[in-house]
């Protein structure tokens, strides 16, 4: 049973950053702007917030510091995504190219600034954030072991983001307008919605989430930040497509990816799987093969926002 718990806890370390970042991507794409800059924004968010943690070490610690870092990561990601918003909304640039530019810029910037500030590119941090067991809730049998032990407060922030995203997207005026801009911006404009504003909102939300995702990714994974998030921004895009731009499906998709990645990485420590003798490559392939299969079956009536990737031109009605 302990193995089940530890696999589940590890799965969360994969799932939550993927979930948060993919939800960010969802907001942007639902507003009609493709955001492949998620990787770069993750790096930027992680960079600024880890730097904050590094600088305030000793003064702050524990959950206060982590929550402040989350806020800082969100702001950093948002500011950075402004470049993408400006290029692709105001300047009507190719959204893929603008996103790629951000992806290339972010790690270079992180290393450059880190070296100027402290001489080396790795930014050290001390992890004082892990929660061994959540008070009271951690004592619940099974559920406590699954959800409330060996965890980070960011896991709950991720779940909160999921719930809020679902409500905002489907139950508010703002969400309806945002979706309309992604499907048919001309129609939205004709009823008096400011399409540019909506698209800005979408990209900025994606920036904030991706920034948080970067921080959440780095904290349990390493003891320093080395200007990389190991391609998880791109993986989040795959999760987004696998989840068909729908928040709850994105949750399942990211959980599935997370579980498969956990099993692929840790099967040697799980006696049942170790004795099966299936090579780890099989586990590593499963999520991607599944994505392909799912795409084959869903591409005919894909849920992708219709107007995504097309710069909105007021004049073209």
């Amino acid at each position: 049973m302990n193995i089940v718990f530890s696999v589940f806890q590890q799965t969360m370390f994969f799932t939550i950053p993927l979930l948060i970042v993919a939800l960010g991507g969802m907001f942007s794409e639902r507003s009609g702007i493709i955001n492949i800059a998620l990787e770069g924004i993750m790096i930027m968010g992680a960079f600024v917030s880890i730097l904050f943690i590094n600088r305030t070490q000793g003064v702050l610690s524990g959950q206060t510091q982590l929550i402040l870092a989350v806020v800082i990561a969100a702001i950093a990601g948002m500011l950075f995504s402004l470049f993408h918003a400006f290029a692709s909304i105001n300047m009507k640039a190719d959204q893929t190219i603008s996103g790629t530019a951000l992806n290339l810029f972010a790690p270079a910037f992180a290393i450059f600034v880190a070296r100027i500030l402290q001489g080396v590119q790795q930014i050290q941090f001390t992890n004082t954030f892990r929660i061994e067991s959540v008070p009271v809730l951690g004592n619940i049998p099974i559920i406590g072991d699954l959800f409330f032990k060996n965890t980070y407060i960011t896991t709950y922030i991720g779940i909160l983001i999921l719930i809020l995203s679902t409500i905002v997207l489907y139950k508010t005026k703002f969400g309806l307008r945002l979706r309309a801009c992604g499907e048919h911006p001309q129609a939205a404009d004709s009823v008096g919605i400011n399409v540019y504003k909506m698209q800005y909102a979408g990209v900025l939300i994606s920036g904030a989430f991706a920034g948080i995702g970067g921080l959440v990714f780095v904290i349990p994974t390493s003891t320093n930040f080395n200007a990389t998030v190991a391609g998880y921004g791109f993986l989040a895009l795959a999760v987004l497509i696998f989840g068909q731009w729908h928040p709850v499906r994105i949750l399942f998709a990211s959980f599935f990816f997370g579980l498969m990645k956990t099993i692929a990485a840790s099967y040697s420590g799980i006696p049942v799987l170790a004795s099966l003798g299936v090579p780890s490559y099989i586990y590593k392939m499963v999520p991607y093969v599944t994505t392909l299969v799912v795409l084959v079956f869903t591409s005919k009536n894909s849920q992708a926002p219709r107007a995504e990737g097309i710069p909105y031109d007021k004049g073209a009605r």
Binding site: Q10, P107, R115, N226, A265, S266, S268, G269
Partner: protein
């Protein structure tokens, strides 16, 4: 006719600009990615900015005398390149030489050779090449520039198909007995009471493999010395040098399954192992340099004294004592490998224990099987003839 002429001119322009791209890319601003071409001034290096001004000032006269060409990593990789770079910087500062490092565009021999050319054009008299990836590049360059001295770490110059090995008189090849460092780490861990060990290497390159083999044999040696019944070792190469959730998860699963200490052998891999160890309250053994400042979980480090070897090498050049034309191996015998006993967190393993096993290694009393030719880890481990330790190779 006019059109034809125009198209010719345009085509010419295009070709010119393409070639310009090719060569100018080498002088672009420093960026992060090791896959990109960079020439980086010593200004943004891991050094003191004040001293750098000196280095740069002198450069105007006859370029940068001491050059280091990095391999995949950067000069602050906390391991190979950094160790070598520290040696360069230390010597340069002491004797007022100018110095600079160059980062090749790609991980290819062609690119390494080009970068070495560039360093020599930039005035380099001594070129330090850290890593076995430079074996071919140095083989080519050593004959091209006979008045330039090459220091090759972790390898011996040879041609592309390994049919010819040649270390010219202007080249000093430095090898390390990583297996001895690994042996010491494995020995110390078992002597200190750990019976469930793990080895997590980066890519299965010779240096990493030797660390692992030594580690396994050291653990076995200690186990039979202590008369233990069983020592279990999980053994795995991650295939990369990055910190990833995969590595962290694998380490966490090993710790969860009872492993007490993992030898994290390969750049960022070690950091992910440390993260897992912190979460599980377990221990880590560091690699290459003393990694104890990186995490409290690091109980010791299997060190290669890179900076010492580079420093000695450069010093020899200027003292006219350069040991060109042959391979120098840094071992326990000449204090080239070891554990940092001052910063180690052992419970029972004392400095005296360390000194006695170190002396045995240095004196050749202990023989380690370090044959990295066998590509199959299972077969290789089987050939050690381990008495007590049981190695579980994870593919």
């Amino acid at each position: 006719m006019k059109k034809k002429l125009l198209s010719f001119v345009l085509a010419g322009c295009m070709i010119a600009s393409l070639t310009a791209c090719g060569s100018s890319s080498k002088t672009t601003e420093p960026t992060n990615d090791s896959s990109k071409t960079e020439t980086t001034e010593s200004t943004d290096a891991a050094t003191d900015t004040k001293e750098d001004a000196v280095a740069e000032g002198e450069a105007s006269a006859d370029g940068y005398e001491l050059a280091l060409v990095t391999d995949i990593g950067t000069i602050d990789d906390k391991s190979f390149n950094q160790g070598a770079w520290e040696g360069v910087v230390q010597y340069a500062k002491e004797s007022g030489k100018s110095y600079k490092y160059y980062q090749p565009a790609e991980k290819t021999t062609d690119s390494y050779v080009e970068t070495i050319d560039l360093a020599i054009e930039g005035g380099a008299k001594v070129v330090v090449c850290p890593g076995y990836l430079f074996e071919e590049a140095v083989f080519i360059s050593q004959d091209k520039y006979t008045d330039v001295k090459f220091i090759l770490l972790d390898g011996e110059p040879h041609n592309a198909d390994y049919s010819e090995y040649k270390t010219a008189d202007n080249t000093m090849a430095i090898l390390f007995q990583e297996d001895e460092a690994g042996f010491l780490a494995g020995y110390a861990a078992v002597k200190d009471g750990y019976t469930k060990l793990g080895f997590m290497g980066g890519m299965a390159v010779p240096a990493v493999i030797r660390f692992g083999y030594g580690f396994v044999q050291g653990a076995d040696y200690a186990a039979s010395e202590l008369g233990l019944d069983s020592v279990e070792i999980s053994y795995h190469y991650t295939g990369g040098f990055d910190a990833t959730p995969e590595v962290q998860t694998l380490a966490a699963s090993w710790y969860g399954a009872g492993t007490e200490v993992i030898f994290g052998c390969g750049g960022g891999v070690g950091n992910s192992v440390m993260a897992a160890a912190e979460a599980n309250g377990k221990a880590v053994i560091g690699v290459d340099v003393d990694q104890s400042p990186e995490s409290d979980t690091v109980i010791t480090s299997a060190m290669k004294k890179l900076s010492v070897s580079v420093y000695d090498g450069i010093k020899a050049v200027y003292d006219n004592a350069f040991q060109g034309g042959k391979t120098t191996t840094f071992t326990a015998a000449n204090d080239g490998v070891g554990l940092p006993m001052e910063t180690s967190k052992f419970k029972t393993f004392s400095s005296d224990d360390y000194d006695s096993v170190f002396a045995k290694l240095a004196g050749g009393e202990i023989k380690i099987n370090n044959d990295t030719k066998e590509s199959d880890t299972n077969a290789a481990v089987g050939a050690f003839g381990l008495k007590v330790a049981k190695v579980n190779v994870v593919q």
